[in-house]
Amino acid sequence: MSREAYQIPTSQGAGGPGAGNAAVAGRAVDNEGLPMLYICGDCGTKFPLKRGDTIRCIECGCRVLYKERTRRMVQFEAR
């Protein structure tokens, strides 16, 4: 992807590129329990968690999850 083609993801981006609008629409209605993507520490599955969900991998029951790296543009002054 070229630099110009990069688009700052607007929502948390649940699902693929096509799902963006639906997620935004859903957000407008219900502000509670938005899913974020987490990576299982054991099997590497990516899956969403809502507010108040129990912390475990849906696949393997692993108890350590990592937050996904942000898809926002991250830039710093290089010094």
């Binding site: 948390q12 502000n31 509670e32 329990g33 938005l34 974020m36 987490y38 520490g41 054991d42 968690l49 507010r51 108040g52 969900d53 129990t54 912390i55 475990r56 696949e59 393997c60 029951g61 692993c62 108890r63 350590v64 999850l65 990592y66 937050k67 996904e68 790296r69 942000t70 926002r72 991250v74 710093f76």
Partner: protein, 1240 residues
């Protein structure tokens, strides 16, 4: 054909491809670095010794034995009451597992890596099986869970046991994970190795404090630390009294008891005075009988004991039993005789018979005490010398696993005796009618009664590991109660591995004023490293094992020895004269006596058999042959096969084979250091390598034999402070603080051990071109100039990882979903500032990869409570934030969401790993590997650096003055070798003791340089980078491995002009963290005074400290009586128009018949509207805030301070006379200091 096994042979070469392959494909068979595992093995093996069949715990259970409980009233006689006997049948430890309540987890194992990540303890379920019978009926069994016991990583009970590197990597560990530590709350803890007195060996001691024990006690004594089969110990001491008598001392449950030694002797076996006399002195025809010193005292010993009037074994045991019944806490059903037997079993020479003591064992104990008495009399008579308890010769090592087992055993004992007894008492109190035979009791027995007692042994051990504090009713025969565990810091790999080789003398000795315990004694050769000890307060107390030193963790089979000894001419009869017969002992048991002339032959024969491996003499047996001497150590052959000994490999010359030598035997052997040093007919052994005496770390110092020895000590310390590579599984670690060097390299100059220990997996520094030159003056006083371009290329670039754990759980709450009171995230349906919103994700956690600065939010949370349907709802609509408080810029490296073990909790704990980049800046500390540390003083532009004829510019410039006084010639040699190695593409072997006067290192590497077309001496003509002129002298330039130390200015600098102050005094607060100041103390004040820098002093002590302006009344000289006037017309505006002294003013309404027209001065009002007049003589002065505080404090005590603002304000003494100020003498003027202080 199976692929060839992974090679474990290493030389000093780079082996780049081989290492690359090891990294890409971790071996599936075994580690390529077995030495690393060997270094840690004593820890693991000692832990494994606990729970195996016939392990230490099992033996401990046998020692705990059976408990008898009676029902009914405690005060009534035992007859007619039901009895319940109970004992431990076994104790089992399970591997770490998910509790069965968690139905979601596919993989039931909890791996150590998960415990680190989740900040929890790596532990497994511990359960005990009890067996009980009531009134001697059929035995019944039940099992109880007694908590979760922390498990040592890589022990038999760990999931990583015997895993190959490939498996370890799959389990998120290092490929060379060593284990040997515990994971407690996510922190790696190890139990320190402790030096203890040698077990089962009578030590002759002269200790002045012995004389303080009571009247007629002397300084002489024999200490024998007797160790039970379960590795718990009981120290027995014999004290010599002035009159020749001897007392037996022991401590039991932290209290000390004294018993006449004769009583012990008579209780052990059925004996008579003649047998004791002959056992001590010898047969009537022996030489011992001529020793009148001895015979006199033995006679007295026997005579004084007559006063007790106890003669037979049964009488004595009954007497002892009666006296020690309350102390031992035995069942009331035992007779006095049985209690006496129990006393002997539990306390007297427990190594010779501890469980089911036979008559033969009692006789062994009897003979051992006779030997101790004999040695004590010999010591007093001066026939033998004292043994030095500070020498390794008389020491052994308390291994972590053994200590762990001791604590478990004691806890189990406590649980059954104290705990169960209390539970029964409680039960009888509640149900007085019930008995052991009643139906109700049988229903209640295991379940209901056991719930009453605290049976969580796992928690107690977790406490022990996390604090290092031992809370024990018996004290475990140890001299300290704290400091048993340390954090295994993974600052870099050298530090980490050093923790496992660390041996501490005991924190008791740290307080000792004398330095004798800290001395480096020749006995430690080959066992403790002479170089690797810190300087400062732990110097000499905290030692490190030599890298070849091994600690035995299990007993070797020495069952053939007594028979062999008998065949070699060891007999049962003996004499007190050591020139007639000397003792032959095996593990503290006397197996016989022999003639001194024969003792050497016997010892030599045993040794030959031992190395040969024949006759059933094990290789690791220690044959301590102490020859007869004139007043030297008490002679004999002391053999030892037990664990916890140190042994080290040497070459046995007669067979040219490996022999293992122990510390007791070593001082009496002739071990040549190198092959040429072998003296024919004298040397029996030769060292495999002289570097065997050095620790792992000391071996990493290149050419350390060229250096002055303290410099090698410094390097051992600095190697452990280096910012290096802690490991490769950094992603799965959550250490609070972790340092990492980004641009680590393998050193050009290194020893083969560097590869054998796999230190290339954990690089610790960078090869730097170093010029020794005084250039620009910025390299003065151990400063070093960095090449700016080298810095830009990444020289010494490092990173710090900090992990912040944020938990919403309240401490000590039972975990369940109902108790969730807070959740991460923004409070739903509330307005959140866009700024905060943007910094965090929708889940309230930071974006991974974000840059955070001081004051940025790290996460958001809100309170919740359950509504009627059980949903968690936020009610207050407030979002709370956790802030990033450090002043440095950091990046969010990882955000870890931590679930609970049961898998049914919402997000309650997260751990955020922050990455702080730390490129080298001025003020950061660097060092070479020769104790030459320095601080970066400038990053000098490359164009201005000097350059050599081949165009090389140094990365680092150090000052030549760093060398003459420190004499680190090794650094010069490393520089030469490094340069030659870099030029030829060689790895240079830097093992010490490889060069000598004929073949010098300078010559060897000089020729290499010459071959590469460089100066033989390593000097080169250089040109000034600034002028381009050739420098007048040739410059010594070469390649040296540089370490970046973790001390960085960014963690140290402390400056302030203004900032937080202490409210009471107004002075700056203390502490760098809180933005406090550095104290200008008395000595600093003196220096400023001496320089006459009064303004600077004023600035430091006043203006930058507690400067305050205050009103004072000149008339009464007080700060406390002044007050601002309040104008009735201006209103509430806060304007201090004028300040008056309330003390000097007069109240208008209290003055009688005031004539307002005649009042002198202005009338003013205070806040209450009262009108006053006078008190106008006030002024504003600058004083320290502390002075005002002092004034107030003194006023509270009733002391008034009066200040003279001006000499004119001084109270005059005598009658009022007109003073001519100019006429005053100069001396009087000096007296009137401004503002002088006069206490009224």
């Amino acid at each position: 054909m199976a692929p060839a096994a992974t090679s474990t042979e290493w030389d000093h070469e780079y082996n780049t491809l081989r290492r690359q392959k090891l990294f890409q494909e971790p071996p599936t068979d075994r580690s390529a670095y077995p030495l690393l595992q060997v270094a840690v093995d004593p820890h693991i093996e000692s832990f494994d010794a606990l729970f195996k069949p016939d392990g230490l715990i099992e033996r401990g259970l046998a020692d705990i034995g059976t408990r008898i409980f009676l029902d009914g009233d405690d005060r009534s006689a035992p007859v007619g009451r039901n009895r319940l006997t109970i004992k431990y049948k076994s104790v089992q430890l399970q591997k770490s597992q998910i509790p069965i309540t968690n139905k979601f987890a596919k993989n039931r194992e909890i791996l150590p890596a998960e415990c680190r990540e989740r900040h929890v303890t790596y532990r497994g379920k511990l359960s005990a099986t009890f067996e009980y019978r009531i009134n001697g009926g059929d035995p019944q069994e039940f099992t109880r869970e007694i908590g979760q016991l922390p498990i040592m990583v890589k022990s038999r009970h760990c999931h990583l046991y015997n895993n190959s590197p490939a498996q370890l990597v799959a389990k998120k560990e290092e490929s060379e994970e060593l284990g040997g530590y515990f994971v407690v709350n996510g922190i790696e803890k190890i139990i320190r190795l402790l030096l203890m007195n040698r077990r089962n060996f009578p030590l002759a001691i002269n200790r002045p404090s012995f004389a303080n024990r009571g009247p007629s006690y002397t300084a002489y004594g024999i200490i024998l630390r007797s160790v039970r089969p379960d590795e718990t110990s009981q120290t027995n001491v014999l004290h010599y009294l002035n009159d020749g008598n001897i007392t037996f001392r022991f401590s039991w449950r932290k209290a000390e008891y004294l018993v006449p030694v004769m009583m012990i002797l008579k209780a052990l076996v059925e004996t008579n005075d003649r047998e004791i006399f002959e056992g001590l002195v010898g047969a009537p025809n022996s030489k011992g009988i001529q020793n009148t010193f001895l015979t006199d005292r033995v006679e007295l010993l026997l005579r004084t004991y007559k006063s007790y009037g106890i003669y037979t074994k049964a009488q004595t045991r009954a007497y002892l039993g009666e006296k020690f019944r309350p102390v031992l806490g035995v069942s009331e059903t035992l007779s006095n005789y049985e209690v006496g037997t129990e006393f002997l079993r539990k306390i007297v020479l427990v190594h010779l018979g501890n469980v089911n003591v036979t008559e033969e064992q009692d006789s062994d104990k009897f003979r051992m005490i006779l030997l101790m008495v004999r040695k004590l009399y010999a010591l007093v008579a001066g026939d033998c010398a004292v043994d030095n308890p500070d020498a390794v010769q008389n020491q052994e090592i308390l291994l972590g696993g053994f200590l762990y087992g001791q604590i478990i055993k004691e806890r189990l004992d406590e649980l059954m005796s104290t705990g169960l007894r209390a539970a029964f008492r409680e039960y009888w109190r509640r149900f007085p009618g019930r008995t052991f035979t009643s139906q109700e009791f049988q229903k209640d027995f295991p379940a209901k009664i056991f719930t009453k007692l605290s049976e969580n042994i796992g928690n107690l051990l977790e406490y022990f590991l996390s604090t290092g504090n031992l809370s024990s009713p018996s004290g475990l025969d140890l001299q300290q109660v704290s400091g048993f565990t340390v954090v295994a810091e993974k600052l870099n790999f050298l530090r980490f591995i050093s923790h496992f080789r660390m041996v501490h003398r005991g924190s008791f000795f740290a307080q000792l004023k004398t330095t004798t315990v800290r001395k480096l004694l020749p006995e430690s050769w080959g066992f403790l490293c002479p170089v690797h000890t810190p300087d400062g307060s732990p110097c000499g107390l905290l030692n490190h094992l030599a890298h070849k030193c091994k600690i035995m963790t299990s007993a070797v089979d020495a069952s053939a020895i007594p028979q062999l000894a008998a065949e070699l001419g060891v007999v049962d009869t003996s004499s007190a004269a050591t020139d007639e017969s000397v003792v032959v002992m095996l593990d503290g048991k006397i197996i016989g006596w022999c003639k001194p002339t024969e003792s050497r032959r016997i010892a030599d024969t045993f040794r030959y058999w031992k190395v040969e491996g024949s006759h059933g003499v094990p290789l690791h047996l220690e044959i301590g042959f102490v020859p007869s001497s004139n007043g030297g150590t008490y002679p004999g052959i002391y053999m030892s096969s037990e664990p916890a000994r140190m042994v080290r490999p040497t070459k046995y010359l007669p067979l040219e084979k490996e022999d293992f030598v122990g510390p007791l035997e070593q001082p009496y052997m002739s071990i040549a250091c190198t092959e040429p040093e072998i003296i024919s007919g004298e040397s029996s052994h030769v060292e495999f390598d002289p570097t065997n005496m050095l620790s792992i770390l000391a071996n990493m110092t290149p050419f350390s034999d060229f250096n002055q020895s303290p410099r090698n000590m410094y390097q051992c310390q600095m190697g452990k402070q280096t910012m290096g590579t802690p490991g490769t599984s950094l992603r799965y670690r959550t250490d609070n603080k972790m340092y990492r060097l980004q641009t680590g390299q393998t050193p050009i100059v290194r020893s083969p051990l560097h590869n054998a220990y796999g230190f290339d997996n954990f690089p610790n520094g960078t090869n730097a071109v170093v010029a020794v030159i005084s250039y620009t003056g910025y390299d003065m006083d151990d400063a070093m100039i960095l090449n700016k371009s080298a810095h830009e290329r990444g020289f010494g670039h490092g990173t710090i990882y900090k992990t912040k754990k944020i938990t919403l759980k309240e401490e000590n709450r039972t975990k369940s979903a109902k108790n969730v009171t807070k959740l991460f995230g923004f409070a739903p349906n509330t307005l959140v500032r866009g700024w905060d919103r943007n910094m965090l994700g929708d889940d309230g956690l930071p974006h991974v990869g974000r840059c955070v600065q001081e004051g940025d939010v790290l996460c958001a949370w809100h309170t919740v409570s359950a509504d009627y349907s059980g949903n968690l709802v936020n009610r207050d609509g407030v979002t709370h934030y956790e802030k990033y408080k450090d002043s440095e810029v950091a990046f969010i490296e990882e955000v870890r969401v931590i679930g609970s073990e049961s898998g049914n909790e919402p997000m309650q704990t997260i751990s955020i790993k922050l990455r702080i980049p730390r490129s080298p800046i001025i003020g950061d500390k660097f060092s070479s590997r020769h104790g030459q540390k320095g601080v970066a003083s400038q990053k000098w532009p490359m164009v201005d650096m000097p350059f050599s004829e081949s165009g090389i510019q140094p990365d680092v410039i150090i000052n030549p003055h760093a060398f003459p006084s420190r004499m680190t010639i090794g650094m010069f040699v490393e520089s030469l070798a490094g340069k030659a190695g870099a030029l030829h593409g060689l790895a240079q072997d830097s093992t010490p003791f490889r060069f000598d006067e004929q073949n010098t290192a300078g010559d060897y590497f000089g020729h290499q340089l010459k071959m590469a077309g460089y100066n033989y001496h390593g000097n080169e003509p250089m040109y000034s980078g600034i002028t381009g002129e050739e420098l007048a002298a040739d410059i010594y330039i070469g390649v040296v491995y540089y370490q970046r130390l973790r001390h960085m200015v960014n963690d140290k600098y402390q400056v302030r002009t203004t900032g937080p102050v202490v409210p009471t005094t107004g002075q700056p607060i203390k502490g760098r963290k809180r933005g406090g100041g550095i104290r200008v103390g008395e000595m600093e004040r003196d220096a400023l005074l001496a320089h006459g820098t009064a303004f600077l002093l004023q600035d430091r002590l006043m203006n930058c400290s507690d400067y305050s302006r205050s009103w004072i009344c000149r008339t009464c000289g007080s700060f406390l009586s002044i007050q601002p006037t309040v104008s009735p017309f201006v209103g509430k505006k806060k304007t201090v128009s004028s300040v008056r002294c309330r003390n000097c003013a007069k109240r208008l309404d209290e003055m009688e018949d005031v004539d307002l027209t005649k009042v002198t001065g202005e009338i003013w009002e205070d806040g209450q509207g009262t009108q006053w007049v006078g008190g106008e003589d006030t002024t504003l002065v600058a004083v320290p805030g502390a002075l005002k505080y002092l004034d107030v404090e003194l006023a509270a005590m009733g002391v008034k301070l009066k200040y003279r603002v001006d000499p004119k304000d001084a109270p005059r003494k005598g009658p009022l006379v007109q003073t001519n100020w100019d006429a005053l003498s100069a001396g009087k003027k000096a007296n009137g200091l401004q503002p002088a202080l006069v206490a009224a």
